[in-house]
């Protein structure tokens, strides 16, 4: 048991942090938000050339701590709100391809992902909120050489920038997902305008045809690889939120140490100091929980999906609390566009909702039918038997 980063991991963190500090000042975030795609392309190109876009997709059994490394990267991205589609495209899209598609398509796509030449936009939602693999309108029917997909996918981020959409759809064998060319005939994008400047689109698919080899998990599959990719995205996004929460906490603490009222720094008032102390404790907790989820994922533990849900639930709630607290500690300034906090406050909500908010993910732990996973007792017992880990 050692809950701190090893030397290599600390080094990795320093490298990522240095990159973010240099490449992503506030102005870059604002330019991206105003619709300037060139900042994203530029960042994406640099990340590709550093080899960061291939993390988790190497298939190298030896590199056991890939998900942990992804989280280290995501935490640093989250601190500066780096405007790139890393989690949806690489962590979710890339992993779905990695686990779900067969050669030669698989290698071709993974190579271009790693080279930064391709972006995948997951299109999973049909209603206002994330609902796992459930498809209500979108369906895929078998044709001669493949499938045709019809339906409406909602709130697809980066859809206009993507080369492929990863579309979940109901098939004769249950829910599955398909890698669909973004330029396919019959695919229409409707841009939406959200508070965090997210590039969100509704995507209408009408008789969009895809080749048979673009179905995840082969002719009868899809669920497994998609679920596994979503779980990874939850963990990576949790790390991103932990990074964001650390950043807003640090900004609040710095302000509380400087701002003077009633002849004292406001940080000396318990009404300010104690909520910040609670927040610091929960940020530490969320970070540890996220890395534990990542560590279990890297080891293929049976409890990894439960931990992914737990981490996402906890980090989502925490990020909301932290941005809200930080705005509050800044007083009136916290409401002003000149203050950095507004960026985090506006953008945190989409992160909270992505792949399900706290309530949704908690409902996976214990649900009306016993939850989506084995009972925690069984799970722990299994893990215990397997690894001797703590109960």
């Amino acid at each position: 048991m050692d809950l701190s980063f090893n030397e290599e991991q600390s080094l990795l963190r320093d490298t990522f942090r240095e990159f973010m500090g240099k490449e992503c000042p506030r102005e870059v975030v604002e330019r991206a938000e105003s619709g300037d795609l060139s900042v994203t392309s530029e960042l994406w190109r640099k990340m590709a050339s550093l080899g960061w876009l291939g993390l988790g997709l190497s298939g190298d059994e030896e590199s056991t701590d890939e998900m942990v490394s992804i989280c280290i990267l995501c935490e640093e991205m989250g601190r500066v709100l780096l405007p790139v589609p890393y989690v949806p495209s690489v962590v979710l899209g890339g992993r779905a391809v990695f686990e779900g598609l067969a050669e030669p398509v698989r290698s071709r796509i993974l190579q271009s992902l790693e080279a930064g030449e391709c972006i995948i936009a997951p299109a999973l939602m049909e209603r206002n909120r994330f609902d796992g693999l459930r498809c209500r309108t979108c369906s895929a029917s078998r044709t001669e050489g493949g499938y045709t997909i019809d339906g409406l996918k909602r709130f697809v981020e980066w859809a206009d920038t993507a080369d492929y959409l990863l579309v979940s759809a109901l098939t004769a064998e249950g829910p599955s997902a398909f890698l669909v060319h973004a330029k396919s005939p019959g695919l229409v994008l409707n841009p939406l305008d959200a508070i965090g400047g997210e590039r969100l689109f509704d995507v209408n698919l009408s008789e969009v045809s895809v080749d048979a080899e673009c179905r995840l998990g082969g002719p009868n599959g899809g669920k497994g690889p998609l679920n596994s990719a979503i779980d990874r995205a939850k963990v990576a996004l949790s790390a991103q939120m932990v990074g964001g929460a650390s950043a807003v906490l640090e900004k609040a603490v710095a302000y509380a140490r400087e701002r003077v009222q009633f002849g004292k720094t406001i940080g000396s008032f318990q009404g300010i100091a104690f909520p910040l102390a609670d927040c610091a404790t929960e940020v530490t907790g969320a970070r540890l929980l996220t890395y534990k989820a990542a560590w279990l994922t890297d080891r293929g533990s049976a409890s990894a999906p439960r931990f992914a849900a737990m981490a996402k639930a906890y980090a989502s709630d925490l990020y909301r609390k932290a941005t809200d607290l930080s705005a509050h500690v800044h007083g009136g300034l916290g409401f002003m566009m000149e203050c950095d906090i507004q960026l985090y406050y506006r953008k945190s909500k989409a992160a909270e909702l992505a792949y399900g908010d706290g309530k949704y993910n908690r409902s996976l732990l214990f649900g009306p039918n016993g939850g989506s996973f084995a009972s925690p007792g069984e799970d722990r017992a299994n893990d215990l038997a397997k690894s001797g880990a703590k109960v």
Binding site: S4, V253, L289, K359
Partner: protein
């Protein structure tokens, strides 16, 4: 990063677990539980068995009969004991007082205390709190006046855990009333059978008791002083840190409680209620975080750091989560949750009401929630008054 126990720790865990699950030991535990006062539950028989295994002195220095256990190994020990509801306060106090004596005690005191303590023949208590000195411990007024080779102690201590069973108490008393308040305090290991000591009960919720000790001209030889005269605050700060570290491990009691609760709710079909499910999921998550914060502290202790902030975080978070859980569980269980052990219809052998009744203590003892928040704010975040 590594979230798994290593081979030796796993082996130890199995050894500790085996003891806890031993039939004869379960019988002793059940008898103790029937006596009602779980908080003060103590069995010399169990204690001696643990002593035979060297468990009273696990983390004392080796030259004093300890086994030099690492912080990681101690956490495994405390967690396993707490999970299986072994009486744990006496263990925590022995590990703490043993270390304090080994590092700061006189040779005479070491010889008197350590062999008997590690043999499981002695119990200790902490004599810190006074009617007018709680969180502000440095305001204590119990006096110890020098008189030749002796000190003469006068004053009153309250809320002492195990005070009625203990042989010795780690006493904080003022030896120099002229000095600034943190610089005039000394520590003694006071034999509680000394003349002039009266111990009386203060009853608590959860059928427990703590104690009040009144000292009237109690004479204690200077060999019983711990560390230098007037330098008690330093030792005290260290001892409080040690105590907080082990308290967080006690959160494993919460884990055991939640496991029992989940099983019970499943059996009774209550887990079809989405509101119950949300609560359970929240408790599960919060306990996991609490456990991780405790291991985070343990990791840093193991590296030889002095993690003041992380200790406060672990204590703050685990006690606040246990506090919430006690009440939440009763909302799920309804009236049946209020039934005491032994009552018809009691659930979880009465643990549900116990968890609820103990909640107000958890966020106060060993440094209250607000004191922890203050430590994190000042030490961790640098939010001291300025300007």
């Amino acid at each position: 990063m590594d979230f798994e126990l290593d081979e030796r720790q796993k082996e130890l865990r199995r050894e500790f677990e085996e003891f806890c699950l031993d039939e004869d030991n379960r019988r002793i535990l059940a008898e103790l539980a029937d006596e009602g006062d779980y908080y003060n539950a103590h069995s010399w028989e169990l204690f001696k068995k643990m002593a035979e295994r060297g468990w009273i002195s696990l983390n004392w220095p080796v030259e004093y009969g300890g086994r030099g256990y690492t912080p990681e190994e101690m956490t495994v020990f405390h967690e396993t004991m707490a999970y299986h509801r072994m009486p744990i306060i006496a263990l925590i106090l022995s590990s703490l007082v043993g270390n304090v004596v080994a590092y700061f005690g006189s040779d005479a005191l070491k010889a008197e205390i350590l062999p008997r303590a590690s043999a499981g023949e002695l119990l200790f208590c902490l004599l810190y709190t006074e009617p007018d000195a709680g969180s502000d411990l440095a305001a204590l007024t119990t006096r110890a006046e020098e008189d030749g080779d002796y000190y003469v102690v006068n004053g009153t201590k309250i809320y002492t855990s195990l005070g009625h069973l203990a042989n010795y108490g780690l006493l904080a008393a003022r030896t120099n009333p002229e000095a600034p308040k943190r610089q005039g305090i000394s520590l003694f290991l006071l034999p509680l059978d000394s003349e002039g000591v009266t111990v009386s009960p203060i009853y608590t919720m959860g059928d427990g008791r703590v104690n009040e000790e009144v000292f009237t001209d109690v004479r204690v030889h200077r060999d019983y002083m711990i560390g230098e005269k007037d330098s008690g605050w330093f030792v005290l700060t260290m001892a409080l840190g040690l105590e907080r570290g082990s308290i967080a491990g006690v959160a494993a009691q919460g884990r055991a409680f939640l496991d029992g609760l989940i099983d019970l709710l499943r059996e009774t079909g209550m887990t079809s209620d989405p509101v119950v499910c949300q609560s359970l999921a929240e408790m599960e998550t919060v306990l996991e975080v609490s456990d991780l914060l405790n291991w985070n502290l343990t990791t840093l202790l193991g590296k030889g750091d002095v993690p003041i902030t992380e200790a406060a975080m672990a204590k703050l978070y685990s006690s606040e989560s246990m506090r919430r859980m006690g009440s939440e569980a009763l909302n799920m269980l309804g009236f049946a949750g209020l039934l005491r052990r032994g009552s018809p219809g009691a659930l979880l052998e009465g643990l549900s009401e116990y968890q609820y009744q103990m909640a107000p203590m958890i966020s106060i003892g060993a440094g209250s929630t607000e004191i922890m928040q203050g430590i994190i704010a000042r030490t961790g975040l640098g939010l001291a008054a300025k300007g």
